[in-house]
């Protein structure tokens, strides 16, 4: 399957992403999940960025938290808007998971 997962928390309480092995994985960082794209702890990027996946982060949720400016977003994460999310859901993946 082609699965797109939404991560909306900074501290995750489930390890489901470690188990899912879809043929194609997308991860959309939204709400407090956006910190995974921007925030280093002791200089280290979030381990959530270590999956073999396409990463996206929602612009509005970055801005809301004072995290605008492309320079703060990790290079492997693409900044998107809600319209892009709709296209990802319909055109690039066949199932969704809000974790």
């Amino acid at each position: 399957m082609k699965l797109v997962a939404f991560v909306s928390d900074y501290k995750m309480t489930v390890d489901t992403l470690d188990r899912l092995k879809p043929e194609k994985l997308g991860i959309i960082l939204c709400q407090n999940g956006v910190y995974h794209a921007t925030t280093k702890e002791n200089g280290k990027a979030s381990s959530l960025l270590n999956y073999s996946a396409n990463y996206y982060v929602i612009q509005e949720d970055l801005e809301t938290r004072g995290l605008s400016g492309a320079n703060v977003v990790d290079g492997k994460v693409k900044v998107v808007n809600f319209g892009d999310v709709v296209d990802l859901i319909f055109n690039e993946y066949d199932k969704t998971a809000w974790l």
Partner: protein, 137 residues
């Protein structure tokens, strides 16, 4: 004549959140969905407990006595009565040191023929592949 298959994946423990219960009550609602469908069309619900979600399956839950609330256990039994496919991840039970004797396995007192299936995660992954849509709780 078509069938849409839904997979309900429960990954968190219950009671502190309404979600595991709502997963089961929504899955059970697959039994009355025909009013929205044409003759012969179906929506099916498979249920899987993974991760900390397997803690929902521990038996002898006294939620009615303590919180005047139907237990998650009773909702699992109702799912069995309605012939839903209920899977529990064996690796996660093993991790918690839980065996089949610790969890809800069947519901003969409800008149249910179905039983909970303790399966490897690989089988749950196969189920997820086979579904049209997934709902994570």
């Amino acid at each position: 004549m078509a069938t849409t298959k839904l997979g309900f994946i429960i990954q968190r423990p219950g009671y502190k959140s309404e979600n595991p219960k709502l997963a089961l009550t929504h899955a059970i609602a697959s039994q009355s969905v025909e009013i929205y469908l044409k003759d012969g069309d179906l929506v099916t619900a498979d249920i899987a407990f993974i991760g900390d979600g397997v803690l929902n399956c521990i038996k002898d839950q006294k939620a009615l006595e303590n919180y005047d609330l139907n237990s998650t256990e009773s909702h699992i039994k109702m799912s069995l009565l309605l012939d839903l496919n209920v899977l529990v991840c064996k690796e996660d039970l093993d991790k918690f040191g839980l065996s089949e004797s610790d969890i809800v396995l069947d519901a003969p007192e409800f008149g249910a023929d179905m039983e909970v299936k303790v399966v490897s995660y690989a089988e749950i992954a196969k189920m997820m592949d086979d579904m049209h849509h997934l709902l994570f709780f």
